[in-house]
Each structure stands twice: as C-alpha cells, then as structure tokens.
Symmetry: C2
Subunit: 210 residues, 2 copies
DNA sequence: TAGATTGTTAATCGATTAACAATC
DNA sequence: TAGATTGTTAATCGATTAACAATC
C-alpha cells in the first residue's frame, strides 16, 4: 500500500495536512477536496493528490475526501495512534519545558522517564516524573525498553550520550543538542531541532545594515 | 554579487556550513576544500561549491578555502554580525527558556524586551529583563523599533498578535506558536518552529505496531 | 612545471505541476 | 445524465551531480 520510499519533502508536509484536517474536523466540516486543501495550505491540488497517493487511495471521484476519514488515515500513517515509550535525557530548562508542554501521547509516544547527570537535579519532580540519575539508565532501559530519547543536553555531551543510548536500544532521537549526531542511520532515526540554525535562517532573510 | 534568489534548500544549509567552519576554526584548521567539507557534512563537493557560488567566489584554485575567511564570509552572508532589535512575546515556560538560553547576539539579533498579557507574570524578571505588559508594546515599538518578534504564545492568540505586531513595524517572526501564520509574505518573514510537526515526522519514521 | 581544486557549464535526477481518462 | 473530482500518467521545472577548462 505505501510506496517504497517516501521523500523527505512529503514527510515534512504530512503534519501540516494532519493539523489542517484536524481543524476542519473540529469545525464540523465533513468533506473537502484537493483543490480546497491546496488553496488553504498554499500548495497545488496536484501535489496534495500525489502526496496522499503515496499511501493509498483515500478519496472518491466526484466527491473529494471525507475529512474525518482522511484525518484518521493520516493519524495511522504518521503513527499518532501508537504509544511508544520515550525518555527525556537532560532535565535543564529545555528538558523541563518539553516535559511539561509536549503532549507526547498526541504524537504517538509515551513519556516514561526523565534523566539527568546532575545529582542536584535528580530527585526533583517534573511533569509527574522524578528526575533520575543517568546511572540508572541501563536498568531502566532493560525494563521499560524506551525507543526514543529526547536529547536536551549540552552539545559537548551529545555524541557520547547518543552512542550510549543507542547501545541501550534507543532507535530514535529528538535532538535539541545543537549538533549533528553521527549515528548508524540504517538503524537510528534522528530528528534535529536546531534552534540556532532556525534563527540563522531568519537572520539571513532579514534586511541587513552596512 | 549575490544571486537574485537563493533557494530554500541552500538557505537551510548555510547554518550548517557556518557551524562546521566555526568548529574547524576553533580546532585551528587553516584550510579546507569542498571535497573535505562534503565528506564531513555528508554532501557532495559540487553542491558545496554551487551553494557558495550563489554568494561569491571565496576559494582559490588549487588551494581550496581559507577556513577563517570563509567562516567570516558566511557570518556576513547570514547576517550574524548584525544587531537587530528583537522582542519576546509570551513569557510562559517556553518564552523563559528562549530568553535565558538563546544567545541572540550570536545570531545577529539583540533582545530588547519581553512581553506578556498576564499581569501576574508582568514585573517578574527573566534574563535581565522585566516582563512588561503587552499594553505598552505600541510605545515600546515607537521607541526601540524592534524588527523581530519571538512568538511564544498560545495558538489561539497567535494570528491576532502577529497582525498587531505587524502593524507596529515587526517584519520577522520566529514562530513557536504551533500554527501557520497568515502574513503579507512580501513584507514579513516567518520562521516556524513547529515542535509538534517535528515530533510527528519522527513518529512517522519510527516502527509501528499493529 | 605538475598537482590540486576551484568556478561554471552541462547532464542527470527527482519533485512539482499539468493534463486527462476513470468514475462517483 | 452532467458535473465534479479523483488517481495517475506525462510534461515541466528546479535542484543536485558530474565534468572540465581555468588557474593557483
């Protein structure tokens, strides 16, 4: 059903489709078309149909798409109905914000623990979890088998920690550590959130003096 | 000197080039080549030369590139030497983390104020700034003329607030509010940080059960 | 000079857009 | 049935890669 390989461009558009269909559904809209979606999302109808047809045939000729059905399909495609165990590594400011503000369950994951290397932070409570020392990671992973680690640690420690976590069975990183991890890309998925890079692209596009 | 329009793909690679050259420079490396950079960054030498030649001729035949000179050129190209006034709008958890952790000066900006609509938060101090009520934005903008606003507010308020800020002269948004802003794209630059979308792409790429 | 590596042009590849038969 | 809109094939466009003359 799903095409062999989905291009990065398509993958990046899926969340937008899902978000927008969720809004339509919440607004009570029952039906839509590629033309309508395209107009709203600033894409072409062709592109939307091509994208969706990577995964199956979800529309009906002459009618278009049922909003609820298509949203539900995207939910399954993206894997939002899953509940894969995840951990946060690094309980500094950023780790705390993510623990408190990201609804992991809404994205197909389930937060199972928060770890830090600083014994002063360990023992404190964040989002219902007691921050635990990294020493206990091995035992924890043996029991809970988390698949994803959210890396909220300083750049210097990132590569080493990622290697360690990879050895403990982690196969996905949500990487906030501001550096490019070197991993076995056949086995391990990395999604980078490089805030600095993001702000630099804005800097590039803003007018400059001198 | 700079080509008429730079593609989004090129823009997204510039920060990585800059980061990597900074590392090389910090390590004391004086010279590099497109082949070397390509190997390290996982790109092709051709691509790197094409990308750089959008902006000028920075290399020397037979030699390659001087690390410091090229890093410096990228600094100017991206605009990291600038100091454009920026404000943070929304001083919740996320706004605080950004205020405290992002080195705006390193990215061509200068944090000038933090605003919130909640009078309970106003008056508290974050990263050396006293959080100020949004009521005072108009006066502030008239005096300081910030060009960029970091949007750390809830989705519901984002569009309205963006419109308001646009009217007050803001021409760039670093948007963390998890929705797609509708703006006059000829005048206003938007850089989205959609953490939910980011986590969804990781969800998509992770194995699924059932 | 010989070797190396650039800047740039040409070739290839992949993604986007257009077109249209199928069909609800 | 007529109108609408899909799924899909073909055409176009743009980005990446390869090739090579220029030159340090």
């Amino acid at each position: 059903m799903q095409k062999d390989s989905i291009s990065e461009s398509v993958i990046r558009r899926l969340p937008r489709y899902y978000r927008f269909l969720s809004e339509l559904e919440a607004a009570g809209t029952q039906r839509t078309s590629s033309r309508e979606l395209a107009a709203q999302l600033g894409l072409t109808a062709s592109q939307i149909r091509q994208d969706l047809n990577c995964f199956g045939e979800f529309g009906q000729q002459g009618y278009g798409y049922n909003v609820t059905a298509l949203r539900r399909q995207l939910e399954l495609i993206i894997g939002l109905n899953q509940s894969r165990p995840a951990i946060i590594v690094g309980a500094g400011n950023l780790g705390k914000v993510i623990a408190a503000n990201i609804d992991f369950a809404a994205y197909g994951f389930r937060l199972t623990g928060i770890f830090d290397i600083d014994r002063n932070i360990c023992g404190t409570e964040i989002a219902g979890f007691t921050v635990t020392h990294m020493d206990t990671l091995e035992t924890f992973c043996g029991e809970v088998h988390p698949v994803v680690a959210v890396l909220c640690i300083p750049q210097e420690a990132a590569q080493e920690t990622a290697d360690h976590l990879g050895a403990l069975g982690i196969s996905g990183f949500w990487n906030f550590s501001h550096c490019d991890l070197e991993t076995d890309r056949s086995r391990i998925q990395v999604e980078n959130v490089h805030l600095g890079d993001s702000l630099m692209t804005l800097s590039f596009r803003m007018p400059k003096k001198d």
